[in-house]
C-alpha cells in the first residue's frame, strides 16, 4: 500500500520496523491527547455556552486532578523515553563483526571507500543481510549521512571519525541525503544507496575496478611518507612498533591510558604531540596538511590491518571519542 501512496518511507533495515512501531505508538498518544482535548473543549463550549449557561460556577481547582494530569503524562513520557532509549542503544553500538566502509563528506559530494579497494562517489553499494558500519569524516564543514529507508542518520564532522551502522534487509535503491546544512549545494549533496543480494555484491566488488585493497594503498603510503623509517616491525625503530596496537589500550607518557581506535590513530598522525606513547620522545612530525582524508583513511586501515586477522573488533563507538581523555586525568 505504501508503494502507491508515497506517504511513508520504505522499510529497508532491521531497525526500521522497530523505529516505526515506536513512531506509531507516539502517534497514537498524540492523536489520543489531541482528540481528548479537542473533544473536551468543544463539549464544554457547547454545553456551557453563554446562552445555555448564563452564570458561571466558580471552581477553585483540585489537587487530586492536578496530580492526575501530572502523573499520567509523566508515566507515559517515561515509557516513551525508555523505549526510545533502548532503540538508540542498539543504533549506537555497531556490532563487532560489521563490515566497514569509509565515507568522506565534502562540499558537496560523498566519497565512499570500500576496504576491498573500490571507490564510489554519491553511490553506495552494500550487501543485504550484513551489518554495515560506516566510518565517516568530513573534509570541510559538518555534513550528515541520512538514509531514510534505514532510519539512520549521523553527523559527519571535520577532524574526527563518526560512525553509523545499519543492517539492510531489502534489496533496492534508496535515497541518501545530506541532512546537515552545509552551504550552497546542500540539497545537491544527495546520492543513492543500492542494496544488493550478497552474491551480486561480491560480483560487483570484484568487477569494480579496485586498485588493490585499502590497506594495501595504506602500506604504500606508509613507505612513501617515511613512516616506515621510524615505525619498524621490530623494536629497533625510533617510534613504537605498530603491530597489534590497534584496538588495544595504549599507555601514554603522562600516565593516562587510551584505547587505540580510529580516532586515536588519526590524531597520532595529524597531531602526534597530543598523546605521546609512554617510553617514546615526541619526535614524530605532524602530517597535518600533507595527507588528504582519503590517504588518512588508507593509513588508518593499514595500521588496523597490522593488528591481526580480525581488525574489525574495532572499538569505535557511534558517538566517537574525540581527542579527549579527561576521564583518565
Amino acid at each position: 500500500m505504501w508503494e502507491q501512496l508515497p506517504l511513508f518511507p520504505a522499510q529497508a533495515s532491521k531497525i526500521a520496523p522497530q523505529v516505526d512501531i515506536l513512531f506509531f505508538f507516539l502517534c497514537a498518544v498524540t492523536v489520543f491527547f489531541s482528540l481528548l482535548i479537542a473533544f473536551v473543549v468543544v463539549f464544554f463550549a457547547v454545553k456551557y455556552r453563554k446562552e445555555k449557561h448564563p452564570h458561571a460556577e466558580q471552581i477553585e481547582g483540585s489537587v487530586p486532578l492536578e496530580l492526575t494530569w501530572t502523573l499520567i503524562p509523566l508515566a507515559i513520557a517515561m515509557v516513551m523515553f525508555v523505549w526510545g532509549a533502548s532503540i538508540f542503544f542498539i543504533e549506537s553500538r555497531p556490532p563487532r563483526d560489521a563490515m566497514e566502509i569509509y565515507a568522506v563528506g565534502k562540499q558537496w559530494m560523498w566519497k565512499f571507500q570500500h576496504v576491498e579497494g573500490v571507490r564510489e562517489i554519491n553511490t553506495l553499494h552494500v550487501p543485504m543481510g550484513r551489518d554495515v558500519k560506516m566510518i565517516m569524516s568530513s573534509q570541510d564543514v559538518i555534513h550528515d549521512f541520512f538514509v531514510p529507508a534505514f532510519r539512520v542518520k549521523a553527523d559527519v564532522l571535520p577532524g574526527r571519525y563518526s560512525v553509523v551502522w545499519f543492517h539492510p534487509t531489502k534489496a533496492g535503491t534508496y535515497h541518501l541525503f545530506c541532512a546537515q546544512y552545509c552551504g550552497t549545494q546542500h540539497s545537491g549533496m544527495i546520492g543513492e544507496v543500492i542494496v544488493m543480494e550478497p552474491d551480486e555484491y561480491e560480483a560487483w566488488l570484484s568487477g569494480g575496478g579496485a586498485e588493490g585493497s585499502l590497506s594495501g594503498t595504506g602500506q604504500k603510503l606508509f613507505q612513501q611518507y617515511g613512516c616506515a623509517t621510524c615505525h619498524r616491525s621490530d623494536t629497533q625503530g625510533r617510534g613504537p612498533n605498530l603491530t597489534g596496537v590497534f584496538g588495544k589500550p595504549v599507555l601514554l607518557d603522562d600516565g593516562r591510558t587510551v584505547v587505540a581506535d580510529e580516532n586515536y590513530v588519526r590524531e597520532s598522525i595529524l597531531n602526534p604531540g597530543a598523546k605521546v606513547v609512554s617510553g617514546f620522545k615526541p619526535i614524530m612530525p605532524t602530517f597535518q596538511g600533507q595527507l588528504s582524508e582519503e590517504q588518512l583513511i588508507a593509513l588508518v586501515e593499514y595500521v588496523k590491518s597490522l593488528a591481526g586477522p580480525n581488525p574489525n573488533s574495532a572499538p569505535v563507538t557511534n558517538r566517537p571519542v574525540v581527542p579527549n581523555n579527561a576521564t583518565q586525568q
Binding site: 603522562d254 597531531n271 597530543a274 597535518q288 574525540v322 581527542p323 579527549n324 579527561a326
Partner: protein
C-alpha cells in the same frame, strides 16, 4: 519617607512612590544586570573548562608562558581599586563630596594601571607569536622553538586567554568611562547622603569586574603552571 521627598524631590522620578523605593529598585536592577554579566562570561568559562580538560598538555604549555609576577601585581592593583571604589561609595553614603571625587579618581588611576600592565603582557605575547589560531607559532621572537607538544591546541589556549582577558579589559574600559562620568557628576555636586545610587551601582559593576579577574588570574596563570603529570 516623605521627608526625603521634600529634600530631594528633583531626584525622584515620577513613577516611584519615594526615594527608598527608587533606590531599592535601582540597586536590584543593577544586580539583575550583573546576572547577565555572569552568564556572559560563563560562556567563555565553559569553553575554557571543556578545552582544559580535553587538551591538558596545551594548558600546561600555555600557562607557562604567563608572567605570574605581572599577573599578581595586577591582581593587587585591581583589589586595591576595589577598596578605593568601596571607599568612594562610603564617602557618598556619609555625603563627603570631596572624598567621593578623590576616591573615584584613585579608582580610575588604578584601573588604568591595570590596563597598562595588561598591555605590556599583550605586547610580550605578540612578540613571541603567542597568539590565537593561525597567528600562533611555536617559535619565540628569536626564532627559537619553544618545544610545544601540541601546537594546534596550545593556540586554543591563547585564543581563550585573549578572549577572556580581552573581554575583561573591555569591561574595565567601560568601567573607566563610567568613573569619569561619576567624577564629573560628583564634581557638580549631584550626590549626597540621600541620593548616590549611581555611585553605588557603578561600584557594584566595578567589584564584579574585579571578581572576574579574581578567577581569571588562577585559571590562566596559576593552576597549570606546575605540570601535574
Amino acid at each position: 519617607m516623605s521627608s526625603d521627598q521634600a529634600v530631594v524631590a528633583s531626584e525622584l522620578q515620577h513613577h516611584f512612590r519615594d526615594m527608598e523605593q527608587q533606590k531599592e529598585t535601582a540597586t536590584f536592577g543593577m544586580w539583575i544586570f550583573l546576572i547577565t554579566e555572569i552568564m556572559f562570561f560563563g560562556g567563555m568559562f565553559c569553553a575554557y573548562l571543556i578545552y582544559r580538560l580535553s587538551y591538558y598538555q596545551s594548558w600546561v604549555d600555555g600557562s607557562q608562558r604567563m608572567d605570574i609576577t605581572l599577573g599578581a601585581i595586577n591582581t593587587a592593583v585591581l583589589i586595591f581599586s576595589s577598596l578605593t571604589m568601596a571607599m568612594a561609595v562610603h564617602s557618598a553614603q556619609v555625603g563627603k563630596r570631596n572624598l567621593i571625587i578623590l576616591f573615584l579618581i584613585l579608582t580610575l588611576v588604578l584601573g588604568c594601571v591595570f590596563l597598562g600592565i595588561k598591555a605590556v603582557e599583550y605586547h610580550d605575547h605578540w612578540e613571541n607569536h603567542e597568539l590565537p589560531g593561525k597567528y600562533f607559532s611555536g617559535l619565540d621572537k628569536n626564532g627559537v622553538d619553544k618545544g610545544w607538544h601540541d601546537v594546534p591546541h596550545t593556540s586554543l589556549y591563547f585564543a581563550l586567554y585573549f578572549a577572556m582577558t580581552g573581554m575583561h579589559a573591555t569591561h574595565m574600559i567601560i568601567g573607566a568611562g563610567l568613573l569619569i562620568w561619576l567624577i564629573v557628576a560628583a564634581y557638580k555636586g549631584k550626590f549626597n547622603e540621600n541620593y548616590f545610587s549611581p555611585v553605588e551601582n557603578v561600584g557594584l559593576y566595578w567589584h564584579f569586574v574585579d571578581i572576574v579577574w579574581i578567577y581569571l588570574f588562577p585559571l590562566l596563570y596559576l593552576i597549570s603552571h606546575k605540570h601535574t603529570g
